[in-house]
Every structure is written in C-alpha cells, then in structure tokens.
C-alpha cells in the first residue's frame, strides 16, 4: 500500500494546475480518493468528523443491491431455460448465462454515466462525486434483460445530463436519475420496451442457452398478462411453462420481469441492509407499503372486469412487478424524496397509492411504480414546504401566546 501511496504522490503533480495531464484531474482525484481516504484535515468548526462519508453510503446501497443482482442473474438464466423448453436447470449454467446477459448492460451503464460525470467534474473543476455508483447499478436492474445496449447508453446519457448535471450534479437533482432513464426508455421506445419479448433473454451467449424459443411460449410478465386479460373471471397469471404463478412464486421471484425487480425476498434482504445501516429511511419504505396496501385493498374491494388488475388480491399487488423494488431502492432516494419526517410519511404513502392506482386504473401502463415515484419527486418539495410552514406557524404562535 505504501508503494501505491508513494506512486500516487509522485504522479500527482502532473494532474495539478499546469501539469501535463491536467485535463484528467477529475479522473485522478476520483481514483485517488477512492484508493485512499483524503488527508484533508478540518480548517474550521469541528476538529473531528464521523468516519461515515458519501462514498460509504453509496457503496452500502450498491451492496444492498447485490442480492437482487445475483438473483436476477439466476432468474435470467432460468427464464431462458424455461423459454427454450429445457427440462433440467443446471445452477451454474443458469448463473453464467445470466451473468453474461447482464454484464454488457452494467458495463454500458457505468461507462456512459461515469464518463459523463468525469467530464462534467473536470469542466466544473469539482471533485468527482459518487452518486452514479448507485444509479449505474440501478439502471440495469430496472430494465428488461433484452433491452438493446444502445438504448441503455442513450437513456443513461439522457438521464445523467438532463436529470442530474443540468441541475448541478449529485445532491441537486429533482428526479430520480435511474427512473428518468427507465422512463426515457419507456416513452421513447414503447414498441421495443413493452410487449412480451423483451423481458426474457432470447439469444445464445457463448454457446450457453438456445436461440430457438419453444413454440407457443408467452414471455409476458405477470402484470403484462393481467393488463391484457379479458373476461369476468379473476386473471390467472402463468409462468413461461404455463403453470400458474402463486403468491409464493411472486415472493421468491422466479417469474419474468425487469432484471432485478422480481424477487421480493432479495429486495427485503436489501431493505434489511439499508435499514440496518441507516442509509434508507424506514418511514418512506413503511409508508410506501402501507399506501400500496391501502390502495390495493380498496381496488380489490371495488373490483370490476373493466380493470382486470383490480381483481388481484392486495398481497400479490405488492409482490408483483416493480413495486417492492421501487419502495426500497427508489422511493428512499434522499435527494429526490421528501426530507422532513412528516413529509416522508406523506410522500411514501402517496407513492404507494399512486403506484397501485396507475397500475389498476390505467390499463395503458401495466406498472405504475416508476410513474408514481417520478410524480411524487415533483411533489416532494411541496410536501416539505407544507411541513416547514407548520414549523414556522408553531414558532409564530409561540411568540404570540406569550405576549
């Protein structure tokens, strides 16, 4: 480590003002502070600081996403094997297939996003910020497995530039960057991004799997099937082999869906990590689920064949689609969410309500979590404003009562 430290100290002057490699200062800074905690000592105010910093916070979120990522790999392989009509499911082959299927997406998302961040940091003369570490991992997890790479690149670039950098970078954005990327894909390429093809990997990768999908297989996600359901009977969702998906299946997550969103179990493991370390806010997570459960119960009580999704029982509503993932990893983004305690309850509750509301009563959009969060991102400052005003009024009243 000492040798590395010495080497960094040796090459550092080249990156400073007037050095040959000054154009890469932000890149060097980024790597240096990544490798070694900066030696900057405090110059004003407190003389000691907590060991926690923004790098660690972001890395904890990435760690919390790992169960979803690993499960997503297995599931990607599993769904492909189902689709080609296989009868045996060798674990390591499935994992390897899933790994190879998602790897390019992760690489593209990070290269494009971090590339833009490095350039912007250099241009603004700022330190590189680590917010994209999380975003770059979220984007592959919330996109369908077969999303073309160029679309991932375009969506990531759009989201990083127009949802984040134009507002001032990490900590200043109004909308969740990963969800903006997802929404961009959803609205810009609706033909590619919906339907039943994109959620299951179709190709052979390095000789693994088979490009011939068995005849008559539908690869639609449960919510996709529900949205297109017709008839008075409650919709029965099926997996690729045609057997019904039970509540337990939906909880474990071996069902078609966006790469990392299917397993509620893994999402809950991630939630446990986030809550234990105090990175995510329990108020938001809890109230999203409460709001979702409330709206799902209401729509279930008023079920009608006009809106087939209203015939799903409330528990399944919470387990299917991206709801749980959105509650744990998206709604809890502290920058775009409400920041006051009371505000967080309202914010989370409304996300839950809106997600199910959109899912059930707007048959055009099988999934509502993404739109619900983006919508509430826009309203979060208003919610906080009201909470802050009540604090101000309390202070005024206190002054007036006394006189």
């Amino acid at each position: 480590m000492k040798a590395l430290r010495k080497y960094l100290d040796k090459i550092k002057p080249k990156f400073e003002e007037g050095g040959k490699l000054h154009a890469f200062r932000s890149v060097f800074d980024g790597f240096e502070t990544f490798l070694f905690t900066p030696r900057t000592t405090s110059t004003s105010g407190v003389h000691i600081h907590d060991s926690n910093d923004s790098k660690r916070t972001m890395i904890i979120v990435v760690m919390a996403l790992m169960p979803c990522l690993l499960f997503g790999m297995y599931n990607a392989g599993y769904q492909h094997w189902l689709a080609i009509g296989a009868s045996s499911f060798p674990f390591w082959s499935l994992m390897l297939y899933g790994f190879l299927a998602i790897l390019p997406t992760i690489v593209v998302s990070y290269v494009v996003g971090l590339g833009i961040e490095f350039v912007v940091a250099q241009w603004r003369g700022e330190e590189i910020q680590e917010g994209f570490l999380v975003t770059g991992m979220l984007i592959p997890l919330i996109c369908p497995i077969d999303t073309p790479l160029w679309m991932i690149a375009v969506a990531t670039a759009f989201a990083v530039i127009f949802a984040k950098e134009v507002f001032g970078g990490t900590g200043y954005n109004i909308f969740n960057v990963a969800l903006v990327a997802r929404a961009f894909l959803f609205f810009a390429y609706p033909a590619k991004m919906s339907g039943d093809k994109v959620f299951v990997a179709h190709d052979t990768i390095l000789g693994l799997g088979d490009s011939a999908i068995a005849d008559g297989i539908t690869c639609a996600t449960p919510l996709g099937q529900i949205a297109t359901h017709a008839g008075d009977a409650a919709p029965v969702v099926t997996d690729l082999s045609g057997s019904a998906i039970s509540t337990f299946d939906a909880f474990i997550g071996l069902i078609p869906g966006s790469f990392g969103e299917t397993s509620t179990l893994c999402i809950l493991i991630g939630a446990a990590i986030l809550l234990f370390t105090g990175v995510a806010n329990w108020r938001v997570i809890l109230s999203v689920f409460v709001g979702g459960a409330a709206m799902a119960s209401l729509s279930y009580a008023l079920q009608t064949p006009t809106y087939p999704a209203s015939m799903i029982n409330p528990l399944d509503q919470l387990l299917l689609g991206g709801f749980a993932f959105a509650a744990v990893f998206m709604a809890t983004d502290p920058v775009t969410g409400a920041r006051t305690h009371t505000g967080q309850y309202i914010y989370g509750f409304l996300i839950g309500v809106l997600a199910i509301l959109i899912r059930v009563y707007n048959t055009g959009y099988p999934e509502g979590a993404m739109l619900a969060i983006l919508l509430m991102n826009a309203f979060a400052p208003l919610i906080d404003y009201c909470v802050v005003q009540s604090n101000i009024r309390r202070r005024l009243r206190r002054a007036n009562v006394k006189k």
């Binding site: 480590m1 000492k2 590395l4 430290r5 502070t33 990544f34 490798l35 070694f36 905690t37 900066p38 030696r39 900057t40 000592t41 405090s42 004003s44 105010g45 407190v46 003389h47 000691i48 600081h49 907590d50 060991s51 926690n52 910093d53 923004s54 790098k55 660690r56 916070t57 890395i59 904890i60 330190e127 910020q129 917010g131 001032g168 970078g169 990490t170 900590g171 200043y172 234990f276 370390t277 105090g278 990175v279 806010n281 502290p334 920058v335 969410g337 920041r339 006051t340 305690h341 967080q344 906080d384 802050v388 604090n391 101000i392 309390r394 202070r395 005024l396 206190r398 002054a399 006394k402």
Partner: protein, 447 residues
Amino acid sequence: MNKSIRIKKGLDLRLVGGIDSGAPRSVYTPKVLAVVPDDFRGFVAKLEVKEGDSVKAGDPVMRDKSHEEVKLTSPVSGRVSAIVRGARRKIERVVIEADGNNEAITFDVKSASNAEGLRSLLAASGLWACLRQRPYDIIPNPDATLRDIFVTGFDSAPLAPELSAGIDAQHARSGAKALTLLTDGNVYICQRASSAINFDGIDRVVAVDVEGPHPAGNVGVQIANVKPVNKDEIVMTLDVVTLARIGQLLATGRVPYSTTVALTGSEVATPQLIDTIIGADLAPMLEGKLSDTPHKRIISGNVLTGWKVEPDGFLRFPYRHITVIPEGDDVADFLGWASLSPKKMSVNRSFPGHFLFRKRFAPDARILGGKRAMIMSGEYDRVFPMDILPEYLLKAIISRNIEQMEQLGIYEVAPEDFALAEYVDSSKLELQKIVEEGLEYLRKELN
C-alpha cells in the same frame, strides 16, 4: 422540587484521554499571556494600551468600538510586550509579559447594587465580555432589555471537565442574585442533578435539572427546551464559572483570573488538571506532557467547538479545556470508505466500532471524506434537540434569505449548536462556519 428537562436527541462521543477522578493536578504560572479579541464574538477591538505600557491585573487593554465601556482587561500585572495585528491591521492579540508582582486593580463594588452600577462594573472588569446574548451569540448589548438570563452549569462536550467542581458555591449564589438585577425575568440555572449547586431561596433564580447527552450542556439547547427565544426578545447567556467569577468580583472587588484547565485527548501522556491564569501561553504549560506523535493538533477547547492553536499559542476563551489529538495528515488509509476497522468512530451502524459500547476512540483531524451537497436527510435532526428544522435553516442561511432565516429560528441558535450536526454530516459541510457567517450577515443587514 427543581424543574427538570430531558434532552433526547444528541450524542456523547467516547474519546480517549478523559479526566478521571484520580487525575493529577499541577500548577502553571505563565510568564507570557495574551488577550485575544476574536474570543469575544461581536467585540470590535480598540486599543487602550501601547506596546511597552505597564499594566496591573484588571487594567483595560482593549475596548469595544460600539460600546466603549465594555473592556477586555489584563489578567496579570506586567508589561505589554507586543500587539499582534493580522490582515487589514486587525488586532489579533495583545501579549503581556508578567512581572510577577501580582498587582491588581480593586474595583468599587458598592455601586453595583443596582442594574446600572452592576452593568458598568462588569463592563469595566472585563467580565461583561464573557457573557453572550441570543440572538447572534455575541457579547450582550449593554443597552438591551433582557427577557431572561440563562446559566449553563455543565459542559457536556467530549472530554470536557466538570464545571461545578472547582467553583465556590457561595460565589455562584451571590453572582446569580446579582444578575437578577439585570432582568425582569428569571435567571435560569441549568445543571446536572448529580453535580448541582443549591440555588434555593434566591428570588427569581430558577434551577433546572437537565438530563441527556451532549448538546444538553449548550445553553442554546437549554433555552430552547425551557423557554425559547422569540423574535425581538433578548436573552443573556453565560456559564456557571463566569457566574462564580461575578460573585467573587462582588465579594472581593478583584477580578479572578485564575482558572483550572483540563488537559485531555489521545495525544496527552497523562490527562490532568492544570491550575493557571486565563490567556496563559501553552508551549511551556504543555512541555513534556504530550505524546511523541509528530503531527498533533492542539485545540484550546473541545474537539467540537474549540480553537485550533499553534504550539506557541495561548489559552483561549472559555479558558478551561485543552484537547490534543493527532492531526492525521500523514495517514495512508487504503480504501478507508470500505474499512471495517473497529477503530473507526461513527454513528453509522456499518462500522463495527459503533457496537463497541465501552470502547473509546482516538480520531484525528481529517474530515474523512469529500465535501458534497446535502445528500442524506435527517442526519442533523438526530443530534439537534430544538424545535427547529436544521437543514432548512441552513439552506435559508446559505441563500441569505433573511425572512426565512427569521421564520426558521435563526435567533435561537449559535454556531456551537450545529457542532454535532457538523460532526455527523456525511457531506462534510462546514456548518458552524455557515451559521456564524449567517449570523454576522444578519446582524450587519438589520443593524
């Protein structure tokens, strides 16, 4: 039955190098001392002496530009050896060489039996400068009407000494009684029940028992939980040591300049108490008492709000605490953000050290991260026991929005109230500096 309040939010940092009951005690008689006007926020210094003048203890060395009766006085008899000026000829300190004669001014205390007399006695003796007022946390305006007076009886900051141990309870009582002259309200004295001085039977002196972690000892927190400051109200604040000094001045006519300093911190060989004089020079006082670590930071005060002083510096207000910690600018901390070392101190549960409830830590002065925008929400709230939304107040200050600052409670806070928030902040923002500059801006704009 005393009134009592319980502070729930806050944090007691467990640091190495505290004073325990068996700590040694020594005496240091300084040869060189300094009066530093920066210690007294709101004081704009005008000189009363020239280099080479001889002064007695209690003689004025500086006066305040806007209230000329408010003086800073010499703590010893001796000769003014240097007047050190900084940028734009700002007076940084007046250095006095002690002559060892112990000559002191005796003030006429008979006139202090009414408010006017007490005010001018305190102003002339230099003790007025040790008082503060809310709003702004500056030296109180002698012309202001004070709603109440708040005295904090303990220092809850990390490694801080017990305040009530070294003071004469009788002086504290007579000081409290005298201060009731200055207000039509009450003199609130907030103390730990375990080390409380008895103030029973003095009219308009209200003792309050305070429970809870730091910042329970911050007078601003006590005010907020007892009787918050509203707009257009002025409250005077002080600590119990100053209260006892006032009592002693009234009893003897002489200003007590002696002080007991707690020498603490991980880089102190043996944490100890040192009896000395306020403004004493530190180099000889600390000689042989510190560890061999090459890069050390000497702080006059505690690790949250103290002054960083050079090794040849002086004891700074409030003259009771020195902490020495490693500077840390020579540490190579590989992948520090991923570390699971139990030596790392944090409020975050991802650090194993968080669960070692009996462990004491020896943090250095690094900020341990990079400056960021406010990312995490609710971090400040956890250590901010007032009915104030710290994040929104800070944002109002940064955007210099006076109306919002007022609405969100700027008049109730001092920079020190944000010290813990600054410590826990994962975005490493300089909150105390932001608040201090905000208060100064507000004061300039409104006056």
